[in-house]
Amino acid sequence: MIDAMDSDPIQRLIAHLTQLPGIGEKTATRLTMHILAGQKEFARALAKSLEDVADQVRLCSQCCTFTVRDPCVICSDDNRDDSIICLVARPQDIDAIERTGQFHGRYHVLHGLLSPLDGIGPEDLKIGEFLTRLRQTPIKEVILATSPSIEGEATAMYVANLLKPLGVEVTRIAAGMPIGGELEYSDSMTVGRALQDRRAMR
């Protein structure tokens, strides 16, 4: 880890930035130099933003997403449908679904997917919180909206098994051809899945 006592603040900042995903030493150095060359106000504002994020953001006590206000905006919105919960892996997945404007229920964020090979088991996800929530409020339907990757499928299957005794309806988001996609340019896994999950025309 980073030596906090490193006397050179420039090296320290570079070292911190390289801890972020997708940022190597080159990019970290470039960002650091950019910050140094710019206005001091920007650097201070950036530091303040980081501090605020660390101090003020917590997990929503209902849906476990990142929020400043507890419960979060969605959980405290009285106009939403309480009887349907959409289960997602990460907070940013909520934004993706909200952008569609087609879902008006509640959410729950797992904060990851099951991955025993990386040491991530059920107890490392917000599954316990989800089950507690389901016992407290009557729910009609749970939509499992983890991605159609093998990890996403495994996590959905695991949660579905846990929900069986509760008697709620459990649905899974569909996978297949992308809208506007050309069949001939699609990879065979996607087309295969689309064939598997085909539906009758009505």
Binding site: P116, L117, P122, I150, Y158
Partner: protein, 374 residues
């Protein structure tokens, strides 16, 4: 083809012919090293070592291989240079960022002395042969295998952690993937069967009947139906749960399956003679060559040390087959005698000279820098 700092070749420039090329010389002169270079250019891995340092000429810091690839669809130059820690690959003089597009440029099939292990060796060698062959037709097979292995490891970790619920989830995912993997392997075995039998007769000149049988570790029914095979996996898994938990790993699956060669109905593994085993291995190489030949482009066949493997009669009939192949053949041999059309090279102390035009002076250094690898 240009080699620098590769194994026993500090510098070598060779012009190959589109048909048969024979490399002869005493042992330890670098014949196999040359085939290895062509193999490396195609697959970016060696069939002899996993240590990159061994590929570089002693005392040198860098090795490079370049080959001019001539195909019906156009020609291009592939080259790869490596030192102990890095490797650079170019195609047509441009850095190749995507290895997937590089791999398709040059395909090779290898027949080396240890190929006989296809018959007597462990099942993994035969599974790899099958999966490689499936892959030629269905490139996404590699994704199925990768996903299956991931689910298998996840289930095993769950079994060790005594989490039966989690193990059950991964078992279900394994079932559908296993169904597809085995369905594809069996379909291929069925398709290969007939061709394999007649090719084997051609190669050996006998009327022995060779057949192939896929042995699935859980599904005895000889079906190619992916749903049925996957379903059978799902039925078997709970019955093995106690055993699996005890051992801490999954005891069935495509990773335990085997491909059986039968000669006149008897399993070749325990019963085949050395000669029969070699003939089967040879047939398998020809079958793989055939699978790789698409749209008029054939793979390059690399044959290492035929004489150590085959008796005179089998060698002759194999050579007959090779002459009939459409693609390029590169072959090493300890003898120079050959009564077939082709180019002969003498490999001696790290240099390669065409036999017919063996130079007195350094005539070769002035010739074309490239070689045809069709």
């Amino acid at each position: 083809m240009v080699l620098t700092g590769w194994r026993r070749f500090p510098e070598a420039t060779i012009e190959l012919t589109a048909g048969l090329n024979v490399f002869h010389g005493a042992n330890g002169q670098g014949k196999t090293n040359f085939l290895e270079a062509v193999y490396y250019l195609a697959n970016l891995s060696s069939f002899r070592t996993r240590r990159r340092g061994e590929l570089i000429t002693w005392g040198r810091r860098e090795a490079s291989i370049s080959g001019w690839i001539v195909a019906d669809t156009g020609s291009t130059v592939l080259s790869v240079s490596l030192d102990r820690s890095s490797r650079t690959v170019t195609r047509g003089g441009m850095n190749s960022s995507s290895l997937l597009s590089y791999y398709g440029c040059l395909s090779v099939v290898l027949f080396a002395p240890n190929q006989v292990r296809l018959v007597g060796g462990p099942p993994i060698i035969r599974r790899r042969f099958l999966d490689r062959a499936v892959l030629r037709r269905l490139p996404d097979h590699v994704v199925l295998l990768r996903d299956y292995n991931k689910m298998l490891k996840s289930r095993n970790v769950s079994l060790k952690g005594k989490d039966v619920d989690l193990a059950e989830v991964y078992g279900r995912q394994m079932a559908s993937l296993a169904g597809r993997i085995v369905g594809r392997r069996r379909t291929l075995v069925n398709q290969l069967g007939e061709g394999f039998e007649s090719l084997y007769r051609d190669v050996t000149g006998t009327d022995e009947r060779v057949s192939l049988r896929y042995r699935c570790s859980w599904c005895p029914q000889d079906t190619v139906d992916e749903g049925e095979i996957g379903g059978s996996f799902l039925e078997t898994l709970p019955r093995r749960l106690d055993l699996d938990r005890q051992r801490g790993y999954t005891t069935i699956g495509p990773q335990f399956d085997d491909l059986e060669f039968l000669i006149d109905g008897r399993p070749a593994g325990p019963y085949a003679s050395q000669g029969q085993a070699r003939s089967i291995a040879m047939t398998a190489v020809l079958v793989e060559h055939d699978l790789l030949s698409v749209r008029g482009n054939s793979p390059v066949l690399l044959v290492d040390d035929l004489s150590s493997e085959l008796d005179e009669r089998r060698r002759r009939s194999f050579l007959d087959r090779l002459s009939g192949l459409s693609g390029q053949v590169l072959m090493t041999s300890t003898e120079s005698v050959m009564d077939r059309d082709g180019r002969i090279f003498l490999v001696e102390g790290g240099s390669i000279h065409p036999e017919a035009e063996r130079p007195v002076t350094e005539q070769l250094s002035g010739t074309s820098e490239t070689v045809q690898v069709e």
